[in-house]
């Protein structure tokens, strides 16, 4: 049953050094506050999983929390490179990063398999590409009915799955809407889960499209604007300026280190960081 707690307590209890951790959110509802808290608590040797490791993973990789990354697209959407990610892959800085690389479609199939209690998923994919030669979680299977060759990818079952959502009700059920990505699959595929939410409500908004029952979630923490600089549909918009400005921060090792220190290591929580960020919160009308 979901324990309603603080984010710092949830991370302290559920995220351990060496864990495989998935923070998901496809452009929308990215659990940024949770990523910051993991950095703040100094977790090490994490194997991070995420379809689109964008700024939150650039920060976690650059801060030295991760030694592995399972992913399908690593960039700053609409801006360019993730410089901390590139520095780790190209120069092993601040430490080597072992990568396991997939496509988006393959990652979704892996999460579905993980959430379904299956060892692998089947798809049409990857053929003609160099990905199977470098990624041992991609192989071929034969359809037992027709003999047709198909692609198999192994299931994803993270130790911890972390997502952000709009609402939690009094019983601890999670409700969200807008772009859904693999939010639901991430929670159901993971052994433990943390959900940060914008607010607690007496009963769900009529806009809620997906509900995760309280008993499949380990911990819930109310963290308003916890997805910033991504967005929470109907709550606030994507802070595109932050994404653009991140380029200069991530590009330089010293500027980055200073940013991590002032925005995360020397702050007590995400709200303190938000007060430092020059961003405009646009409440939904």
């Amino acid at each position: 049953m979901a324990q309603i707690t603080s984010l710092s307590e949830a991370v302290a209890e559920l995220v351990h050094d060496g864990d495989t951790v998935a923070l998901e959110g496809f452009t929308h509802l990215i659990p940024m506050a949770a990523g910051h808290e993991i950095i703040r608590q100094g977790r090490r040797n994490l194997r991070l999983v995420r379809m689109t490791p964008d700024i939150v993973y650039d920060q976690m990789i650059g801060a030295g929390t991760a030694t592995g990354l399972v992913f399908s697209w690593g960039g700053n959407p609409g801006v360019g490179s993730l410089h901390r990610f590139r520095d780790a892959v190209e120069h092993a800085y601040p430490q080597p990063l072992a990568i396991e690389e997939h496509s988006h479609a393959g990652m979704t199939v892996r999460y579905v398999a993980g959430a379904s209690g299956l060892p692998f998923g089947v798809m049409r994919g990857y053929v003609g590409t160099d990905l199977p030669a470098h990624t041992d979680t991609i192989t071929t299977v034969q359809c037992p009915f027709t003999g047709e060759p198909l692609t198999a990818v192994s299931a994803l079952n993270p130790d911890v799955g972390i997502i952000h959502a709009q609402q939690v009700d009094r019983e601890g059920n999670i409700g969200f809407w807008g772009i859904q990505g693999v939010q639901k699959e991430t929670v159901l595929a993971s052994r433990r889960s943390i959900v940060t939410v914008e607010e607690m409500v007496d009963s769900f908004d009529s806009r809620v499209r997906v509900v995760l029952p309280a008993w499949v979630v380990s911990a819930v923490a109310v963290v308003p604007r916890g997805a910033h600089p991504s967005y929470a549909h109907s709550y606030y918009q994507r802070d595109n300026a932050y994404y653009r400005e991140w380029d200069a921060v991530g590009r330089d090792r010293d500027v980055f280190a200073d940013w991590i220190r002032t925005h995360i290591l020397e702050t007590t929580d995400f709200s303190e960081h938000l007060r430092m960020v020059d961003s405009v919160l646009v409440e939904a009308s």
Binding site: T27, M51, W73, R86, E101, G125, T129
Partner: protein
Amino acid sequence: MTTDSAELTGLTGLTELTERTTAPTADEMMTVVASRALNNHDVVFVGIGIPSTAANLARRTHAPEVVLIYESGTIGTKPSRPPASIGDGELADTAVSVVSGPEIFAYWLQAGRINIGFLGAAQLDRFGNLNTTVVGDYDHPTTRLPGAGGAPEIALGAQHTVIVLRQNPRAFVDHLDFVTSVGHHRGSGSRRELGATGSGPSLVITDIGVLRPDSDTDELTLVSLHPGRTVDEAIAATGWPLTIAADLSVTEAPSSVELSLLREMSAMGESGRP
């Protein structure tokens, strides 16, 4: 077409805009030509950047009923301003349906419901195979690129693909360091042996001209040059001995309406907020 476009966009002062239109930049030329590759009732899987701009330009000019699908799970979306990312809230707000990640790739793309996949890349070879993964050795890359995203399965599963890419020797290479998404594989019909459900790249649109695969060899052949561009430029920008079509044509220049709309969209996109 000009009248329709003006009515569709509801632009006021279009005449005034038109008169002030200056010559297209190389990127504008590429975007306008790419928009013309889409028709009404096409169902298009759209990537961010020039493909997205081109797709929305098509929707606002000659193809108002084109169906745009983004990999964020937004189906039939009609953004009023260019999205900054494939998961913009604007895409969800204006979509006919918003579906999950597993669903968009399985039910919609893999099942063959997309007829045009609109792709960009860092590098392309003569058979339209694409690299968005690394430059240099995979384990010790000189440049680490973002990676595959949705492209490998778009390239396999869309009925055909349209590729938009600036033409220069760094991008149009003789040999790809990494094949992220397959095009016509090794040419001469070899793609069929892979079991791909779609038929691969039908069109490559660059800032210099337009290339199509040869009907026998599948090798990309220059079939059209944009106004003011030369065959020598195209050859110099290509890392393999480029074949030129016998009936090489000149691309129709962007109309003033296309250019005005494109510039209006770009200006809205740059502001970052509605």
